[in-house]
Point group: C2
Chain length 231, copies 2
DNA sequence: CACCCCACCTTACGTTGTAAGGCCAGACCT
DNA sequence: AGGTCTGGCCTTACAACGTAAGGTGGGGTG
């Protein structure tokens, strides 16, 4: 009877969850107050009862996404632990490719992030890091705790689609203008096993950079602890 | 005579330069077509003669900023060379704190960036890097060639101002909830020589991360060259 | 003198976020 | 039962945005 007129009552969680689904499906540009309201079978102004405004909506959206990173690693070694943690975060970001771009443009740090970093610092200190080195490590990690690296060469994930365009049209001209880059691409494409992955496997790159940082930090950690023993 | 009515004719360069100055002064939000036109003593639609639209304007703005990175290092050692290069880029980004955020949200790579990266790859290959390792290095650098690291903890540079707020109000509660983070802050603040710099000197952090990456890559380079000799 | 076209302007439309206030069903009190 | 309150949603309205369409005027060229 009431099937036509009945409507699931709104809630902050429902608004934010719907917003995430909307952005997943149609991109960040599609997230307007009116569009989101329509998605919920409601008028735009009704959202303001649960969200202070557009800015707070966006904050809530990234908080919702970050809350998906719940994986608590079972690894004992600090390197393996953080590695597993950051890779889990990366899986979340792959589900929401727009999230990194949104996160970096937000000027308020969403709630829960501090607790997240507190656990990371705890892991480092427990492993023998000084607070000073832990601080450095946090900075060095950059956005990797959130599961993404600054991929300047493929910002297409932020919204639009990457078109190959007339890439092969003037390949000769490109080779002349950019000799090193074209040589590199040629070398890397050659050994590519799976062409569907493209010549640029981000997963491998992500792990390489991550290990580079972890190994480098481990070296500092060992050096500092042996210092304190020797000196 | 014509001082009242005379007006410097528009040009793409003048439009973009004025846009950069406007964003420097009033933030990215202030960059609207009408506002920029007013800044040039002109109507909004006149800009479309020199810029296809808002998106192309933004692309042009970051291109203009990136063009400021012209410093060609005189260092012979690849590490010192790239270090000097990236630190010079950082100076540019410090002049335009909004640029990193804008760059990462753009979905088209601005012209000139490829040439820039081509030179970096050339530097690496000349230093004995394989194309494979050079590729890895490019990814590992992330946004550092552009002079900035992903600073998740201070996205305030993107627009708003960071207010200390009631940070000291419930410090005890924070210490309980975030024991590791508060301990780290306490330790780091203790040795701070210049309190005006804050306890978190980004310059030092930037260089630390940069050296971490450069040293790590150097290790890979040496390992690969000794491999090719030994094997 | 007629013409044209470059560079700029006028007008107008659709869309955005959101301020201000209305409306109505159910809860609650008397 | 009737009056009042109020939480939850809607209506209306406005300023600002990007930009499509077309006008205009003056200097250069035929």
């Amino acid at each position: 009877m009431t099937a036509k007129t009945f409507r699931e009552p709104l809630s902050r969680e429902r608004v934010l969850a719907t917003a995430v689904r909307l952005v997943d499906a149609e991109g960040i540009k599609a997230l307007t107050m009116r569009r989101l309201a329509a998605e919920l079978g409601v008028e735009a102004m009704s959202l303001y009862f649960y969200v202070a405004g557009k800015e707070e909506l966006l904050d809530g959206v990234i908080s919702t996404v970050l809350d998906e990173i719940v994986k608590t690693s079972d690894q004992a070694d600090w390197r393996a632990h953080l590695r597993q943690q950051f890779l889990a975060a990366r899986q979340v970001m792959l589900r929401h490719p727009w999230a990194p771009g949104l996160l970096t443009t937000r000027r308020t740090i969403p709630g829960g992030v501090y607790a997240y970093f507190d656990r990371i610092v705890g892991t480092l200190v427990d492993a023998g890091f000084s607070y000073h080195l832990a601080h450095r490590a946090i900075h060095a990690f950059g956005s990797m705790p959130f599961g993404f690296a600054q991929e300047v060469f493929s910002p297409a994930a932020a919204g639009g689609s990457l078109e190959p365009d007339d890439a092969e049209a003037d390949l000769a001209a490109m080779a002349a203008a950019l000799p090193n880059l074209t040589a590199m691409v040629a070398h890397e494409m050659h050994g590519a096993a799976d062409p569907t992955l493209g010549w640029c496997d981000s997963q491998v790159e992500f792990e390489f950079t991550l290990d580079l940082l972890l190994d480098g930090l481990e070296r500092y950690r060992v050096a500092s602890t042996s210092d304190s023993i020797a000196g």
